[in-house]
């Protein structure tokens, strides 16, 4: 418990640290947690066919699991802590009454694991959807924290109305200071999934850990030879069965020969609930029988079927025309790898979106195909890419977004801005504006002003300064679109074309500057 609380606290601290702290470079934050996750390590390395050095930390988890079993699940995993805490609440409030003996199959998580690994082999990264660290970080970043901020913000409104300016100001200044005021397009669905995962605990204690978690399944498979063994003192045991009834992960401590070392997460609930203190854990080199590791019936036929199902599922995740032509609104964060590699590495944790100071990085729903759901894209109408900021590149746990200095980031193009002359105020209404130009952060500016004639409905002509884009200078940051006074559909907008990371999403041929040759002479 203490260990879980400590790690959850550390997780939260690192998670909140992924923001603009006043330093341009924020060092290591919550991505370090991810580096200890063997499933993410395995899947991203296999699916992207790229080794990412930080994942060496995952070997520590592997070694710990081989030696001591799934202590990661019981002592470290912050999502495990959330599930345990909510299970506790459900039990206390009698929503959850564990049966004397639970015979439900523990196999689903192993099948999920197989499907994820099969996906990785063909370059599909599905780990992020159900990996506990990804799931928790995404839920917190896109749903929990924004809801909390929303509630606190409403509270400040109420406090101001009551004349309590001091506390109201303290809250609002903190929200601004910690960049907890952004909202996300998919916050609703991410939040529902998170609440759903918690609600499942009302059915079974640690439902997620028992039946769904592919990371837990992988660690379970690794724990066959672990040295930490359950011990039941037969002289003390009164065969009450409380330990098995209240085992958090259905590891069946009693009878001892049915104990599943691959399911046990060493929460020691059995030891603490035992009325005669008959249960303890010893170090012992004796390997468990394979059937006892998780005691699930992973038949060869079912495994084969899962593998085939995984392979069949792959094309469904690829059903998108965006492989042939880039999606115009899919503006990836600066430093994002080329799209196939990016999709193979991104674990959809939402950490880049949490770090983005303007809230412009938003989870994708449809723009990147089914495998791209919850990957990040810049939505300039919501927030733009801040010129002197490279935080999103610093917090990515898998290197799907390459770490960049601010100078390097500003040499990249993430898209190109376009003027919609049929909506732009000077072009159409003949009124002055120049808002996009004044916000353009590059110097010299990528938005130039030229004098244009606007034909007005009354037949007169108005001459105004109007924007034109120098696409060589434009980085695609999107501040022009964000600040455009045409509210509904900005008259200047960014699309992904020209992005540095793509060799195909190009605009102009890079024709050499030599004199053009005339084939007819």
């Amino acid at each position: 418990m203490a260990s879980q609380a400590a790690f959850f606290g550390l997780f939260l601290y690192l998670f909140l640290g992924a923001r603009y702290t006043g330093q341009d470079y924020i060092g290591s934050t919550v991505q370090r947690f991810f580096h200890f996750d063997p499933l993410l390590a395995l899947v991203t390395i296999v699916s992207a066919r790229l080794v990412y050095a930080y994942f060496a930390f995952a070997l520590i988890t592997v070694a710990a699991t081989v030696l001591f079993g799934r202590i990661f699940c019981g002592w470290v995993c912050p999502l495990g802590a959330v599930h345990q805490a909510s299970s506790f609440v459900f039990k206390r409030t009698k929503f959850l009454k564990p049966p004397r003996e639970d015979k439900a199959s523990l196999a689903p998580k192993y099948y999920i694991l197989v499907a994820v690994l099969v996906g990785a082999l063909v370059g599909l990264d599905l780990a992020g959807y159900l990996d506990p660290l990804s799931f928790l970080t995404r839920s917190f970043a896109l749903a929990v924290l924004p809801s909390l901020a929303h509630a606190l913000s409403n509270l400040t409104g109420a406090l101001y109305a009551l004349g309590l300016t001091g506390p109201a100001r303290a809250i609002s200044q903190t929200l601004e200071n910690w960049t907890i005021h952004t909202t996300f397009l998919q916050g609703f669905s991410v939040g529902l999934l998170f609440l759903g995962a918690i609600a499942l605990n009302a059915r079974k204690e640690r439902f997620w850990c028992r039946y769904l978690c592919p990371t837990g399944a992988l660690l379970g498979l690794l724990s066959r030879w672990n040295l930490l063994k359950l011990r039941i003192d037969d002289e003390k045991c009164i065969k009450c069965g409380l330990c098995t009834q209240h085992c958090e992960t259905q590891a069946n401590p009693y009878p001892r020969d049915k104990w599943k070392s691959g399911e046990c997460i060493y929460c020691e609930k059995c030891a603490s609930i035992c009325p005669t203190a008959a249960i303890g854990f010893d170090l012992s080199a004796r390997p468990e029988k394979l059937t006892n590791v998780s005691n699930v019936n992973l038949s060869r036929r079912k495994l084969l079927l899962t593998t085939v199902a995984g392979l069949v599922a792959v094309p469904f995740f690829r059903l998108t025309p965006s492989h042939k032509r880039a999606s115009l609104k899919l503006i990836r964060p600066p430093g994002a790898l080329a799209e196939p590699k990016f999709l193979a590495k991104c674990v959809k944790c939402g950490q880049c979106m949490r770090a983005c100071p303007t809230g412009g990085l938003q989870p994708v729903l449809t723009e990147a195909g089914p495998e791209g759901i919850y990957t990040p894209m810049l939505v300039p109408k919501v927030g733009y890419c801040e010129y002197y900021c490279s935080l999103c590149t610093q917090v990515c746990p898998t290197g799907a977004i390459k770490k960049l200095t601010i100078e390097d980031k500003n040499k990249l193009k993430i898209g190109t801005a376009w003027v919609n002359k049929s909506r732009c105020i000077p072009y159409v209404l003949g009124k002055p504006c120049i808002v996009c130009e004044e916000h353009c952060p590059v110097s010299p500016k990528a938005i130039k002003l030229v004098e244009v004639e606007a034909q007005l409905p009354d037949g007169t002509v108005a001459i105004q300064k109007a924007p034109v884009i120098d696409i060589e200078l434009c980085t695609g940051c999107g501040i022009c679109e964000n600040k455009c006074p045409v509210m509904d559909d900005p008259a200047i907008f960014v699309t992904s074309v020209g992005e540095t990371r793509s060799e195909t999403n190009r605009l102009l041929l890079d024709i050499s500057s030599g004199a053009p040759s005339d084939p007819y002479k």
């Binding site: 400040t156 002197y388 916000h439 590059v442 110097s443 500016k445 006074p485 509210m487």
Partner: protein, 307 residues
């Protein structure tokens, strides 16, 4: 304004700054004699040049009679710099932090209860506050930095000629005294952003629509906020790619602070550094018509120092 007024204005500016012969050789040579500052004029403008931004700020306030002229004991004073951009001081996009620091110190020395520094920024607020250097400067000087809070931006009647009502940052209008601390910069629509343009940072709402009639907006806002004092930071000014620049080569060192009670005169004096004549800035004319001040520097009592 006729041509003669313009020439007088330019010449007076040039003389006052002693850059006339370089900046306006033709006009100052022909009409220089006619433009001596009028000693009986009620307006006092201080322009101080020197190496230290803090020292010239303090000297300018001393020339105006000290901060006690503007701030009473127990006042809650709001100091409104331009912190609009995520740029460091050498980019000259935001007010010089040492100028702000000196003003916070002076205000507190004059017995004010609180010195609050606030701006509704364009880039992300915290980045602007931190990277402009203003947050640190204000905290060291004992002032309070405040982020604009959505719940503290309310639609108010401005009773302007163009702007009838708009969203206004309440923390600014509720102050006992307001001090405007803009920086002198190039701007591609209103040519120069000086003191009056700085009030856009005290508004909320869809303020990017102001640009459709920026001159009138600036004057309406200046008439609404009525600062006690305007201190224009011209230590390093932005001469191109305004209003945020981006390279040091976009800036020029002028090492000057211009302070005064009259916001129009301060802006006119600031314009002379670029050099832009007051009548090339329509908002100065509009402001004078509205009785906000005088842009003809020949009619202004100007105190100049170099320290």
């Amino acid at each position: 304004m006729n041509r003669r007024d313009f020439i007088r204005g330019v010449a007076a500016t040039g003389l006052a700054l002693r850059i006339g012969p370089r900046a306006f050789p033709a006009t100052s040579a022909t009409t220089g004699l006619s433009a001596a500052p009028l000693p009986a004029s009620p307006t006092v403008l201080a322009a101080v040049e020197g190496e230290s931004p803090a020292a010239i700020t303090r000297e300018a306030i001393t020339l105006l009679g000290g901060m006690g002229q503007f701030v009473a004991k127990g006042d809650r004073v709001v100091i409104k710099p331009n912190i609009g951009w995520d740029r460091t001081p050498e980019m000259a996009a935001c007010t010089n932090p040492d100028v702000v620091r000196a003003l916070v110190e002076l205000v507190l020395e004059a017995g004010a209860k609180k010195a609050v520094v606030i701006d509704n920024t364009t880039n992300q607020a915290k980045r602007c506050y931190v990277r402009s250097g203003i947050q640190d400067a204000v905290k060291q000087a004992g002032g309070d930095m405040l982020f604009v809070d959505d719940y503290r931006v309310k639609r108010m009647a401005l009773k302007g000629e163009w702007l009838k009502e708009w969203e206004i940052v309440q923390d600014i209008v509720e102050a006992d005294k307001i001090i405007n601390v803009p920086i002198a910069k190039h701007h591609s629509l209103c040519r120069l952003t000086l003191g009056m343009k700085n009030w856009l940072g005290a508004t909320g709402g869809a303020r990017n629509q102001f640009h459709q009639s920026l001159d009138k907006t600036m004057v309406d806002l200046a008439a609404f906020f009525k600062p006690q004092l305007t201190v224009l930071d011209a230590y390093r000014i932005l001469v191109r790619n305004g209003p945020q620049g981006g390279r040091i080569s976009d800036t020029e060192l002028k090492k000057m602070v211009i302070a005064g009670r009259d916001p129009v005169a301060v802006d006119a004096m600031g314009a002379s550094l670029f050099p832009v004549a007051p009548n090339e800035l329509p908002y100065l004319g509009l402001a004078r018509e509205r009785g906000l001040g005088e842009f003809d520097l020949g009619k202004v009592r100007l105190e100049k120092r170099k320290i």
